[in-house]
């Protein structure tokens, strides 16, 4: 282990008091989980190369990697919940028990009893038909039929800081509250090992910070070992004791957090680190005319009546919002889920009626058909936003139907080729179907589709949120390149502050349907004026700063 380099300013974590990561059984530490030479094949595909790791009591090990790197499979192998057709070799020891040698009945006693697990998606991880109390009590009763399950349920809810009566149903709780219920279930039986698989990826930044704090406290207080699985280095940089970086089924680098960030011995670790804090190099924007004007826009939804003869209540999702987007400007719109940014996006696209106010694109209302061809949108989900039965040539020329005189024949072919080249793909790709492309390539195609009619405004609705960090960095660079070439104007909507910071000139912060802050991006991030903005920025996980960018 190399000591921290002098160029590192490390913040967060437990500082340098902890001994460097030792071998299992190193002085004083009691290893809870020891994985030795674990390999996994599903049918004939190699999923895990021999990997080895260990976690001691009261320690947090982060397993970091991109999608498909095998990090979740490592967790499922530990739980004994691998999909059918899986074959493993090697050893997984929970203290003294070899988990791979246990039968199903023995594994059932381990799961939920000695190992608790937390999942990514709190909205679907709970059974919608049972109360939260019943679901927590179930895990207690399964492992100890004599236990006073009700009392222990209340205790578990208290431990995770959830002040909600146990007879509530999951749909009555927010995402953060549901994740606390999932954590309560995982720790209800006092497990020795806790596995958290992307526990905060689906949550807002402020909720994420609270859940991470909760996990940290639980580990320290209960002396559990925590295996934290994530794609986000920033999330674990402030809480993990050690980090193991996974790539294509193997661990490429593993060290304690401080050392890892200081040395980054493996180029892949360095690449992940750089991509996480990547900022695109946007061209300067000369001052210009207003393009999109949003004036006093209010959008409210009717809610179900509380009883058949009641007056229908309304929910105001967007409340008196005004802003102007100038030609050539790259504007960001940030806010947490439920703040009204998606509703506002739909209103700008002219998809939803608004109750008051006006939205115009170059003086023409956005609901007017003439506005449509000047506006295009790139959505979040690169898998769901293309018709799988059409070829690329047809997919990306879809916006042509907005033009009064769309290009035909050779002219159309040229437009397709140019659009594909612009986004870094090859003209030959136009003959392929969408399933042949990766997530990043699909997002390139979505941009090609948006650009093909040279719109005056592009909306990016969480357009890079579903991508791995390195792919995300490439897409952001592509956007900057295209902005230079075509002088694009865009509205970039995201919950991810770090991305917005790297790809916009000006940013709007939205809270409860209102815009609470509007200013140049750097200024808003460095000197937020509104307390909510400050709160968001403080809650967002950030990487330790290093000065030696090799």
């Amino acid at each position: 282990m190399t000591p921290a380099s002098s160029g590192l300013k490390y913040r967060g974590g437990s500082g340098g008091q902890r001994p460097p990561a030792g071998r299992p059984g190193a002085a004083g530490a009691k290893p809870i989980l020891t994985i030795e030479d674990l390999t996994l094949h599903i049918y004939d595909t190699e999923i895990l190369k021999p990997i080895s790791l260990h976690i001691n009591a009261g320690e947090i090990l982060a397993l970091v990697g991109e999608s498909g790197s095998g990090k979740s499979m490592t967790a499922l192998a530990t739980m004994g919940l691998l999909p059918s057709g899986s074959q493993t070799t090697g050893r997984i020891h929970l203290v003294d028990k070899d988990l791979l040698a246990l039968n199903e009945a023995q594994l059932c006693q381990i799961r939920g009893g000695r190992i608790g697990m937390i999942f990514q998606e709190p909205m679907t991880a709970l059974n919608p038909l049972h109360t939260i109390g019943a679901q927590i009590a179930e895990v207690i009763r399964i492992h100890d039929p004599q236990a006073d399950a009700q009392a222990q349920t209340v205790q578990a809810l208290h431990k995770v800081g959830l002040d909600v009566p146990p007879h509530r149903y999951p749909h009555e709780l927010s995402g953060g509250q549901r994740q606390r219920v999932v954590i309560a279930m995982a720790i209800a039986c006092g497990p020795e090992l806790l596995i958290a698989d992307e526990p905060t990826t689906a949550l807002d930044v402020t909720t994420q910070a609270q859940i991470l704090d909760l996990l940290k406290d639980l580990v320290r207080e209960e002396g559990m070992a925590l295996l934290m699985i994530t794609h986000d280095l920033a999330v674990v940089s402030q809480m993990a004791d050690r980090i193991a970086v996974m790539k294509q089924g193997g661990i490429v680098e593993s060290a304690d957090t401080e050392t890892l960030f200081a040395t980054m011995k493996h180029p892949y670790t360095r690449a992940l680190f750089d991509a996480t804090r990547h900022r695109a190099d946007l061209p300067e924007t000369p001052a210009s005319q207003p393009l999109l004007r949003v004036e006093g826009v209010t959008r409210s939804y009717p809610l179900p009546r509380p009883h058949p003869f009641a007056k229908r209540p309304h929910f105001t999702a967007v409340n008196d919002v005004s802003f102007t987007l100038n030609e050539g400007e790259r504007l960001g719109l940030v806010g947490e889920s439920g703040c009204g940014k998606s509703t506002l996006t739909r209103a700008i696209l002219g998809l939803d009626p608004i109750q008051s106010g006006e939205i115009t694109l170059d003086g023409v209302p956005v609901t007017h058909p003439d506005s449509r061809r000047h506006m295009q949108v790139v959505f979040q989900d690169p898998y769901g936003s293309f018709n799988p039965r059409h070829r690329v040539s047809r997919l990306i020329t879809e916006p042509f139907h907005l033009l009064p005189d769309p290009p035909k024949g050779a002219e159309c072919d040229r437009a397709i080729d140019q659009a594909l080249i612009d986004v870094g793909l090859k003209p030959e790709d136009k003959h392929r179907h969408i399933h042949a492309f990766s997530g990043g390539q699909r997002q390139r195609l979505a941009i090609a589709r948006a650009l093909i009619i040279r719109p005056r405004l592009i909306l990016f609705d969480e357009a890079v949120s579903a991508l791995d960090v390195r792919v995300r960095a490439q897409i952001l660079d592509l956007m900057a390149e295209l902005a230079r070439e075509y002088r694009l104007t865009w509205l970039f909507i995201s919950h991810d502050l770090s991305v917005v910071r790297g790809i916009t000139d000006r940013v709007l912060v939205m809270q409860n349907g209102r815009i609470v802050e509007d200013g140049p991006t750097e200024q808003v991030f460095d000197h937020p004026r509104h307390p909510y903005t400050a709160q968001l920025i403080a809650a967002a996980p950030h990487l330790p700063e290093t000065t030696d960018v090799a």
Binding site: M79, L81, E104, A105, C108, Q109, I110, R111, G112, G113, G116, M117, F119, E121, T124, A125, L126, N127, P128, L129, H130, E138, V139, I142, H143, Y169, H171, V182, M185, A186, P304, P306, H307, P308
Partner: protein, 312 residues
């Protein structure tokens, strides 16, 4: 929950009112004068007029509709044109066969479908699943009247353990039940096959949900997770189908009734239509509509009992 109940009840009442209007209007529009039909083509005009006034056919339409509806509310369905008997009594006699038969068939269908569907979903892709799927394919494909004839051949003619048809009345409950058994089996088979398939696919969907993975991570066995978390989540589509099947079985058993010589509702409505006995047609159709709407109401209540998210 109270608000939900009120809303469902209001919608039930409205549906019934609209249905009665539509049925009345349609029967009115249908060509043919029941009085002329009853008396034959050689009837004298004055006898015809006398009969028309006796049947109330000479009154204004609005008044006839009102007296029909108020009559039904008090249990008076009018008098059959052809049989000169109270319609209420005729329907009641038939209902005593059709209702038990429908319930019997439905119970049998559920009894077959639930184990089969659960087994197939739990053993997805394995031999048990394939066997259930093949069996249900056959169950859907075989026409039930043909299956009914096979049942008669085997159990009534060859083995002589079941009656081949007819209905002895409920004075001998055991014999009555026995005579309904073969028709119920014949009716239940295709319904069971459909139900098993719906349950299987709905259960397979439920088993792929995140909360099943959560349940497994809590230490539940595969079977416990299926029973406690999968099954109830898979019930909604199954309840929908069950509701539809009951309405169908109540009046749709006409061919099976014919095969087994059962004087059920299906046969009654068939005879009434061919004899232009409009008051019977009106009343039986109204009764069936009533049954469908009530069953839908009960299905809605069952949804709410299963899924707390619907209780608003």
């Amino acid at each position: 929950m109270l608000g939900y109940l009120t809303k469902r009840l209001i919608s039930l009442t409205l549906s019934l009112a609209v249905a009665s209007l539509v049925i009345f209007a349609v029967v009115e529009i249908a060509p043919g004068d029941p009085a002329a039909y009853m008396l034959g083509i050689n009837a004298q005009p004055d006898t015809l007029a006398a009969l028309r006034s006796e049947l109330g056919l000479d009154q204004p339409k609005a008044q006839r509709y009102l007296s029909w509806v108020t009559g039904m509310l008090t249990g008076d369905f009018g008098t059959s044109y052809t049989y000169r008997a109270p319609v209420a009594q005729m329907i009641a006699e038939r209902l005593w066969i059709s209702l038990p038969l429908a319930l019997y068939a439905l119970a049998l269908a559920a009894l077959i479908a639930f184990p089969a569907g659960i087994l197939a979903a739990a053993r997805r892709g394995r031999p048990a699943d394939l066997a259930v799927m093949a069996g249900t394919q056959l169950g859907v494909a075989i026409p039930n009247f043909w299956f009914a004839m096979l049942l008669v051949l085997l159990f009534a003619i060859k083995l002589r353990v079941m009656p081949s048809g007819g209905f002895p009345g409920w004075d001998e409950p055991l014999d009555a039940l026995k005579s309904l058994t073969l028709p119920a089996v014949a009716l239940a088979l295709p319904q069971a096959a459909i139900l098993a398939r719906i349950l299987r696919s709905s259960l397979i969907d439920a088993l792929g949900e995140d909360y099943i993975r959560t349940a497994r991570a809590k230490g539940l066995t595969r079977w416990q997770a299926l029973r406690r978390h999968g099954l109830r989540n898979a019930l909604i589509p199954v309840l929908t189908i069950l509701g539809l099947q009951f309405s169908f079985l109540l009046a749709g058993a006409i061919i099976i009734e014919q095969v087994f010589y059962l004087p059920g509702l299906g046969r009654l409505i068939f005879q009434a239509i061919s004899q232009r006995d409009l008051i019977v047609v009106e009343s039986v159709v109204m009764l069936l509509v009533f049954a469908v709407i009530v069953v839908n109401f009960l299905t809605d209540l069952a949804y709410a009992a299963v899924d707390p998210r619907l209780r608003r």
